[in-house]
Symmetry: C2
Subunit: 242 residues, 2 copies
DNA sequence: TGCTCAGCCGAACGAACGTTCGTTTGGCTG
DNA sequence: CAGCCAAACGAACGTTCGTTCGGCTGAGCA
């Protein structure tokens, strides 16, 4: 057996919109916790926009303040320092991925379709926020170690969403007994590549075409005979509905 | 036919160790061109080390000067500004890739073996300089547009080295008539992933294991019947020799 | 020996930026 | 309406860092 054990994460259901509370919590001087949440969301949105555009270090606090339409001083009532803004931004980006995939999967039962939809959803969210995905690749290293670990754990959580789909396909006899860990990373890199190599791909196709062409390549040799039949049926159904 | 035309680049043979002369050339006040080359190589080495460790923006000119064991003032006799250092560093990194693959391919005739060796060489060079590969992903965006384009062209050149191997395998009847562009990017991302996801993979295997497991997954469904036979023979030969 | 100048040095400059803090605002309370 | 206070503001501070520039050095030459 080639597959190495992938750690299964159980804290998924417990995470909040801004998780990782406790240890690396963010300082605030404001009491009203609803206000804190609202302001932080506002600042996070502005930070993602600024950091995506110019990068973390070249962006100034003044840039973020202006984008968020608040004063410089206000920012320091809701975060401890500039790095907190980056941490919040990256958490929000990774969290979006973690939210979008289950959302797309909702109500779909067939394992093969679930797999394809998961890949499509992940690629689409990468595509709709290319800059944010690139930001995560560029700036995760700019975080302190413990926070970097938090972000990496969030990536592992997302990967696990894909891994589950793959294992279900194998269990259902639709995929061969492949190297799951390797395949999951191949898929994940494929989804990220739509953002990372947008300068190459976006010239010649849209996301959905990309996913279609990519899957038809990657699934050769992975689908069982049954899987191939099921795939043909799904494609026919897809063509009929849109 | 799914494959889209990949542009073939002919200026490969013309590039020098520090290419892209002409337009975006780098300022110097020193006459002796041999000295300029030596000093720039020295500075480039130091810059790659510093930028890889701490990132481009947090690295100071003082850091690079210290690492290269020269004064601050000397640097400005060989480069115009800090961005020149980044440009030289990224060029050197990408150029190493472009040099290593043909080097590994030298003397190998069998198309399938050439493909496998190219993937292995690319993964190995990514692995031996993980930080440099990550640097290229992080900081290419920190360059001015024209220089960013130069770097992207160098990446395309490297990709083309892989593309040639793939097409040769198809022409030799060892690969099915697959989507070449898609497959090349899948391979390239796979090679980069060894560096980008080192925190995941390096815990459980070495580069060569990674390449072996990755290829055996990606080549299912790509190899023709003949290709599969040839592959088995190559693996047997490989096992005998080392 | 003394002159010259390419190459090198690093103190000094000044702009930019993260962060602070004294002040202002506006709404609630009694 | 007076008194209070959380929230917001933004000028000012102190530091950092890219870049400059005036002077030093030593090899080559007369």
């Amino acid at each position: 057996m080639l597959s190495s054990p992938a750690p299964i994460d159980k804290e998924n259901a417990l995470t909040r919109s801004i998780p990782a509370a406790g240890k690396s919590a963010i300082k605030t001087t404001v009491e009203d916790s609803a206000l804190v949440e609202r302001r932080r969301a506002q600042l996070t949105r502005a930070a993602i926009a600024c950091f995506s555009e110019r990068g973390y270090h070249p962006t100034t606090i003044r840039d973020v303040a202006e984008r968020a339409d608040v004063s410089i001083g206000l920012i320091y009532q809701y975060v401890g320092d500039k790095e907190d803004l980056l941490f919040m931004a990256l958490q929000e980006v990774l969290d979006t991925y973690k939210r979008q995939i289950p959302l797309a999967l909702d109500g779909i039962a067939d394992p093969l379709q679930r797999f394809c939809v998961a890949v499509q959803a992940y690629s689409r969210v990468n595509g709709s926020t290319v800059d944010a995905t690139v930001l995560a690749y560029r700036e995760t290293k700019s975080l302190r170690k413990d926070r970097r670990n938090t972000i990496m754990q969030m990536e592992r959580d997302t990967n696990e969403l894909i891994a589950v789909c793959v294992r279900d396909c194998i269990d259902a006899g639709l995929f061969e007994a492949i190297d799951v860990d390797m395949f999951v990373y191949q898929i994940v890199m494929f989804c990220h590549a739509w953002a990372l190599k947008a300068w190459h791909f976006a010239k010649t196709m849209d996301v959905d075409t990309y996913v279609e062409r990519g899957l038809s390549l990657m699934l050769r040799g992975v689908l069982t005979r049954n899987g191939t039949k099921r795939m043909a049926r799904l494609e026919a159904a897809g063509r009929r509905s849109g």
